[in-house]
């Protein structure tokens, strides 16, 4: 089992996440897709750490997890506040700012 397969899997997960951000309507689901992208990157990082034989990649994965957690805190607070106002978390409903 070569590590390359993990890189391909990570690229696939990242793409699924990116497509999800672009096509999904619900802000929570969009945000989950962003988290999927971050975790795909984590997979890449640990795979590269394995290939390069250094610890840096594994340590970076921890940093990414912490950042992802911080992002959840801020993101959910913002999405909650707009949900309470509009009774909807759809990103299509937020359409006051345009042109």
């Amino acid at each position: 089992m070569t590590p390359t397969y993990y890189l391909l899997l990570s690229a696939l997960l990242f793409s699924i996440g990116a497509v999800g951000v672009l096509v999904r309507r619900n802000a929570i689901v969009v945000f989950m897709c962003v988290e999927l992208m971050l975790n795909a990157v984590n997979l890449s990082l640990v795979t590269f750490a394995r290939i390069n034989g250094s610890l840096d990649g594994q340590v970076m994965a921890f940093f990414v997890m912490v950042v992802a957690a911080a992002e959840v805190v801020v993101g959910l607070a913002i999405i909650m506040s707009i949900f309470r106002t509009r009774r909807s978390a759809s990103v299509d409903d937020s359409n006051l700012l345009k042109y």
Partner: protein, 523 residues
């Protein structure tokens, strides 16, 4: 596996040069204290204490910076914290720029004279449109968490421009972004717009930082390290796969260009600039731009200079797209904040020209840094003026409401005219000098066609600035038009600071230009 264990046992505590990184430590330390104060102080004392703390912090950090910059230090700069932070001449210049611009922004943020209680919401948790919301719109309190949030964002920006490896850069990017997402959603008036701006900025910002991070991972796979200098060394002579290098570079740059609001990655800019509270827009427009371009300059110069012939064409195209989008879409805007947002997209294109003009003597870097400084001051003053023109439901940002403003308030209209001329790049303003140095560096780097396109774009952009000036001076004011508030001390100081620096840098730019050109990035 033995290798990993052996490495793990060898980790030593890194050397830390506290004097060099004191400005960042002061800002981040004060941000932590500020959070504590928020928990401990009674509500009516918070605004004054937080304001004093923020201003003292900014002055103190600037003092520490001057102390370090004038002391005996290596000319090429030092890398401290195990090489994670590079304190070199560009870092010091950008830190000073960020601190002074943040000083102006904090003054605008703290102002309570124009809008009773300040432009920030008294309690962000109250639902817009409810009875409680109408009550809090007239209450005098404000959510004083904006001060620690601003300091954290500033600390992130200062780390971002000095970070010498990509992981530090990513963390700094998040530290600067997350507080900004929140700040965008805290307006007292028009809260739906404000919250919408926060959601849009957050979702797109998180999307872009995921791209940045994937770029970091691929470059780590390519070079075996995320240090900028290791990436440069790996790219210099190697048989590694170029796919990883250029895929990584592309993804990384997408993340950076998003933060810098360079077209075609600008989609969030007009919405967020319009929806966010005006002082926050000023802070974002000035300081985030400085931070993002500081990061772009460092990454391009230190890590990717060897491979510039491969990627320069791409960024060339991006700069053209950005200038064209900013100039052409700016023409169609009817809202003054959106107009300045599109103008910032066009300016981002000009700044990108300076960033890709990697001439050996570093003229492109110093020119871009000068441009950032000049643009930051002009923008803060411009948004300060925007916050003064008001009607009964808050700021009157629609351009039709600005008709005949010179008859109501000649001073405000005069200062705004001067700032618009600076944004357009008319001589005797800092905008002209900024464009001049960036374009001459670009010509030296062989980018003459790009400079021609940039000149055409600035001419097109000048039209929409002039349209506002004509509207203010040669139209009759509407009878139910907006009033111009008399600003309190804070807003007055911020606007004066911005306008005076714009004028002084237009007349005597030599001092700042020399300072920007004192050294290059540590590599």
């Amino acid at each position: 596996m033995n290798l990993l264990v052996a490495q793990a046992q060898q980790i030593e505590a890194p050397e830390i040069d506290y004097g060099a990184i004191a400005p960042v430590l002061i800002v981040l330390g004060a941000a932590c204290i500020s959070v504590l104060l928020e928990a401990l102080l009674p509500k009516h004392q918070r605004w004054a204490v937080q304001l004093v703390l923020s201003l003292v912090t900014l002055v103190g950090a600037t003092g520490a910076l001057i102390l370090y910059a004038t002391s005996e230090r290596p000319a090429q700069g030092i890398a401290t914290l195990a090489g994670a932070i590079a304190v070199d001449s560009p870092s010091l210049f950008l830190w000073a720029t960020l601190l002074v611009l943040a000083f102006g922004s904090v003054l605008l943020i703290a102002d309570r004279s124009v809008e009773p209680g300040g432009v920030f919401v008294a309690q962000a948790a109250i639902r817009p449109g409810t009875i409680q919301d109408r009550a809090q719109a007239t209450k005098t309190g404000m959510q004083t968490e904006v001060f620690p949030l601003t300091l954290f964002a500033l600390g992130g920006m200062m780390t971002f421009v000095a970070s010498n490896d990509l992981l530090t850069m990513f963390i700094a990017l998040e530290v600067l972004s997350l507080p900004l997402y929140l700040l965008c959603g805290l307006a007292r008036r028009r809260r739906l717009l404000s919250q919408e701006a926060a959601v849009k900025y957050f979702l797109l910002g998180a999307f872009a930082s995921a791209f940045f991070l994937y770029g970091v991972a691929l470059l780590y796979g390519y070079a075996g390290s995320v240090k900028l200098s290791s990436i440069a060394a790996a790219a210099a002579g190697t048989d590694r796969s170029d796919t990883l290098l250029f895929a990584g570079f592309g993804l990384l740059v997408v993340g950076l260009l998003f933060k810098a609001a360079v077209g075609p990655f600008h989609a969030w800019t007009p919405d967020v600039y319009q929806g966010a509270p005006t002082p926050v827009t000023a802070f974002m427009a000035a300081c985030t731009k400085v931070a993002a371009f500081g990061g772009i300059l460092r990454v391009l110069t230190v890590a990717f200079q060897n491979t510039q012939w491969e990627w320069r064409g791409v960024l060339y195209g991006v700069a053209v797209v950005s200038m064209v989008i900013g100039a052409v879409l700016g023409l169609t805007q009817t809202d003054v904040k959106r107009m300045i947002a599109y103008s910032s997209v066009a300016h981002a294109g000009f700044l990108l020209i300076g960033s890709i003009a990697l001439v050996p003597n570093g003229e492109g870097v110093s020119a871009t840094m000068f441009y950032l400084l000049a643009y930051g001051f002009t923008t803060i003053a411009a948004f300060g003026i925007v916050s003064l023109v008001r009607n009964s439901d808050g700021e009157a940002t629609h351009l039709s409401q600005w008709a005949g403003l010179a008859k109501r308030s000649p001073v405000v209209a005069g200062v705004f005219t001067f700032l618009l001329l600076a944004l357009a790049g008319i001589p005797l303003t800092s905008g002209f000098i900024g464009k001049f140095v960036v374009f001459s560096a670009a010509i030296e780097a062989g980018l003459t066609p790009l400079v021609v396109i940039a000149l055409v774009a600035s001419a097109v952009a000048a039209f929409f600035y002039l349209r506002v000036i004509v509207l203010m001076y040669f139209s009759d004011p509407a009878p139910d038009g907006p009033t111009v508030s008399v600003p309190g001390a804070f807003t007055t100081i911020a606007i004066t600071l911005g306008a005076v620096v714009t004028l002084v840098l237009g007349l005597w730019p030599t001092f700042v230009l020399d300072w920007a050109g004192t050294g290059t990035f540590l590599s």
